[in-house]
């Protein structure tokens, strides 16, 4: 086989020229990607199509954890006639990307096992596919029954439809149908040239990951426009990201307790989460960290008072959280509900392509902070926490352990930050000028997992394509796998333990 030209990038690195991306023919592309995916240390960050006249260029971004690099390759097809051999047949984790390409551009993939609509975008290829005509999987049989839940749920839950096929109380199959939240986020990034609008939009990709997505966006813009930021801002951003992680992990612990009717754990953790997000509010005026991370600078530089407040918070919250988690994870009635429920095996995790805590709880070491370090993470010693049981208990426990890890990280970062030269007030940059015909990729390890933003510029220097990949996209499949052969009454606690985003998936 001829040697393939490669383009290798680093996360958080400078923008690269679009013309440097090797354009392969499909045979070579297919073999190269399939070959890379055979190695457990590689996974696909994004595989998406960009229109170029009558043709479609499919870009594949592959994360290689072994040497901390990202490899990019592409393939060009004529949209109307294209019938491609499906990569999902070999590597099921690619299924969602191929479904997306099929839905948006009508490219057919031969041998794809599950070619269903994904999110019904307005400009989808086949307008006849509507959310009402979704082709549900079904099994015949007198003893089976179907239970449909949603799209409207009780409580404050986003819309999504779950269809269970059950034998009595046992779930044989769960199909998750999303798309109700589609807002056209990716298109909105390119329709306006207003940097402030884009920054606000990035915070709203998934409301519970405002800091994570804003950071991914800011990083991307800085890379495209060649903006350098100071080390202390990098540290501040990491503190913000860890504060978000801490708040969500504590909140999720509360919700897990709530789902099994353990009131004490629920109310104590809810109160602790409030303390954390209130401290974020003290810092930037918003409890969810909106407005905190902006491209090129910040409106809310960290100061000694706030740093002191954060340290006080960690002291108090850390102690109380340890007390309550000790009692949660030593209570037999709670353990009985978590232990060996909704197990995702390591193999299933790989097949589904899980990321974030959902990967680390079943023995898959995937943490962007370690493998593709961004911002200040490259300067600190970070070791991902990995558990291997893959059940609800592991997902609860990894939240518990990561919350404490976040506290340690924040303390470390603040210590480093205190020693730094503080730059003058660098204000956010909204009228940035990206270089023409370039592209960049930005990865962030949000609390839910790997957030990937990719942007490409046209020859006029404006953003021509923007791509967002939220960790939920792959992790939803993992949830569907985890509830197989479980009791249907354990679905809510399994669902909560993954805590996936509907709008992050639907964009």
């Amino acid at each position: 086989m001829e040697r393939i030209k490669r383009l290798s990038l680093k996360n958080n690195g400078p923008a690269a020229d679009l013309k440097d991306i090797p354009l392969l023919d499909y045979e070579a592309f297919y073999e190269h990607v399939a070959d890379l995916l055979n190695d457990e240390q590689n996974h696909c960050l994004s595989y998406h199509g960009v229109r170029s006249g009558k043709n479609l260029i499919l870009y594949c971004f592959m994360a290689k954890d072994a040497d901390n690099s990202i490899e990019v390759c592409a393939h060009e097809v004529a949209v109307e006639t294209a019938v491609l051999k499906s990569l999902s047949a070999l590597h099921p984790a690619m299924h969602i990307f191929e479904r997306e390409i099929h839905e948006n551009h009508g490219v057919a993939f031969e041998g794809h096992p599950w070619m269903k609509p994904l999110r019904y975008p307005c400009d989808r290829h086949n307008r006849k596919n509507t959310i009402d005509t979704y082709p549900f999987y079904s099994i015949g049989g007198e003893e089976l029954h179907e239970v449909g839940v949603g799209p409207v749920h009780a409580g404050v839950i986003e819309p999504g439809h779950f269809r269970f096929i059950c034998n009595g109380e046992k779930v044989l199959h769960l199909e998750i149908q999303l798309g109700y939240q589609h807002r056209g986020v990716e298109t909105l990034f390119t329709t306006s040239d207003n940097g402030l609008q884009r920054a606000i939009l990035s915070e709203s990709v998934a409301g519970d990951t405002a800091v994570g997505h804003a950071l991914a966006h800011s990083q991307l813009v800085e890379s495209l426009a060649g903006i350098e930021i100071s080390a202390d801002l990098k540290a501040e951003r990491c503190i913000a990201l860890e504060m978000e992680r801490l708040a969500i992990h504590i909140g999720d612990t509360a919700a897990l307790c709530g789902d099994v009717a353990y009131q004490t754990g629920q109310v104590v953790c809810e109160a602790l989460r409030t303390q954390v997000i209130n401290t974020t509010q003290l810092w930037c005026g918003n409890r969810f960290g909106k407005g905190l991370v902006r491209p090129g600078g910040t409106n809310y530089p960290l100061n000694d008072d706030i740093a002191h407040e954060i340290l006080n918070l960690l002291e108090d919250t850390g102690r109380r959280f340890r007390e309550i988690t000790d009692s949660i994870y030593s209570s037999p009635s709670v353990l009985g509900r978590f232990d060996e429920i909704g197990t995702l095996t390591r193999k299933q995790g790989f097949l589904a392509g899980v990321t974030g805590p959902s990967a680390r709880m079943c023995g898959i070491v995937r943490d962007i902070r370690k493998t593709h370090p961004f911002q200040y993470y490259s300067a600190i010693n970070f070791r991902p926490i990995v558990l291997d049981t893959g059940d609800v208990l592991a997902r609860g426990m990894i939240r518990n352990l990561e919350a404490f890890q976040s506290m340690t990280l924040i303390k470390e970062l603040i210590t480093e930050w205190t020693k730094m030269d503080k730059r003058g007030s660098s204000r956010p940059v909204y009228d940035y000028k990206p270089k023409p015909d370039t592209f960049s990729i930005s990865l962030v390890e949000g609390w839910r997992g790997e957030i990937c933003h990719i942007a490409m510029t046209g020859n006029d220097g404006k953003l021509s394509h923007y791509r967002v990949k939220d960790p939920s996209m792959h992790n939803w499949t993992a949830l569907a796998l985890a509830v197989r052969n479980q009791e249907i009454s354990d679905f809510p606690v399994c669902n909560k333990s993954f805590n996936l985003s509907y709008c992050g998936h639907d964009l």
Partner: protein
């Protein structure tokens, strides 16, 4: 008649005390103890909305269930006076009039044609079937012990019998009745009345389609059940011969302690996994069985 008045009176503040206990135990302020009653008043003023898929059964089920529970409350004696309704073997009537109420709420749920409610009805039928032996075996032990088969005869003769074992019996009876009451009224650990997750519900999911006035009737039924089981507990603890005023005071006290106990039990434990429930329920029956065997030995009917 005093018994009935007392049962109605305690049912009035029972749910409020549970709620208040749970709020205090979780460090929250929470609403006052009459909040459930205020909610009930709002519901009673509202009309009911019926889904077009439901039929007559769904409409009459809440009323039948409530009247069955009211009828059951007529069988409970108080302070040595016979209950308004009493006859030999009335404890069987008591169990099955409650079961009939439940039967109607189950077919009412099935009448909606919803997969959720069918699931809930299925669980309710299964779990209430499993708790039934516990109640009968316990009552059979009481009947053997005293030699009577009516509530109004069993309780007055509880402490006057020759045996010194009455206290042990009242304690076992009290323990079992608390457990049975928790299951009958759909509380933690078998069910969780507070959850919003339909897939985990048992009783709550059966009444999803009920609204307004009908829903109020269902709530009143549940509150009454608390008070009925509370008064059974009272009857098995307090000797019928004591002074009427003392008995009245103790009745109130026991109801309040019972409500607080439910609140505390719910605050500090999680609910069972659904497939552990059968084991849990059969364990309650097994404890009742032990009590029964011991009675046989004491009354020299065995060995």
């Amino acid at each position: 008649m005093t018994g009935i008045v007392f049962i109605l009176l305690t049912a009035f503040f029972f749910p409020g005390i549970i709620l208040r206990t749970k709020n205090i135990a979780s460090g929250r302020k929470g609403p006052g103890i009459f909040q459930p009653m205020k909610d009930l008043r709002v519901l009673l003023k509202k009309g009911s909305i019926f889904s077009p898929t439901t039929g007559i059964i769904f409409r009459i089920a809440p009323s039948i269930t409530l009247s069955a529970i009211l009828c059951a409350s007529l069988l409970i004696p108080f302070a040595g006076n016979a209950a308004p309704l009493s006859f030999e073997g009335d404890f069987i009537f008591f169990a099955y009039i409650l079961a009939m109420g439940r039967f109607f709420s189950i077919i009412g749920a099935l009448d909606t044609g919803s997969s959720f409610e069918g699931m809930g009805a299925n669980r309710e039928a299964f779990f209430s079937m499993l708790i039934e032996p516990a109640f009968f075996i316990l009552l059979a032990a009481f009947a053997m012990f005293t030699g009577y088969t009516s509530f109004s005869d069993i309780f007055p003769h509880f402490y006057v019998s020759e045996s010194d074992y009455a206290l042990i019996y009242s304690i076992i009876g009290c323990f079992l009745l608390v457990q049975i009451a928790m299951v009958e009224t759909s509380r933690v650990p078998v069910d969780d009345p507070k959850t919003h997750l339909e897939l985990t519900m048992i009783h709550e999911v059966m009444i999803l389609d009920n609204s307004g006035f009908d829903k109020a009737l269902i709530h009143i039924g549940t509150y009454l059940k608390f008070a009925i089981f509370g008064s059974l507990i009272f009857n098995s603890i307090v000797p019928a011969g004591w002074h009427f005023l003392l008995q009245s005071a103790l009745f109130m006290l026991i109801q309040v302690v019972f409500a607080i106990a439910i609140g505390l039990l719910e605050s500090f434990r999680a609910r069972n996994k659904m497939n552990k429930n059968p084991k849990y329920l059969l364990t309650i029956s097994a404890i009742a069985m032990i009590a029964f065997v011991v009675t046989l030995i004491i009354t020299k009917k065995l060995m």
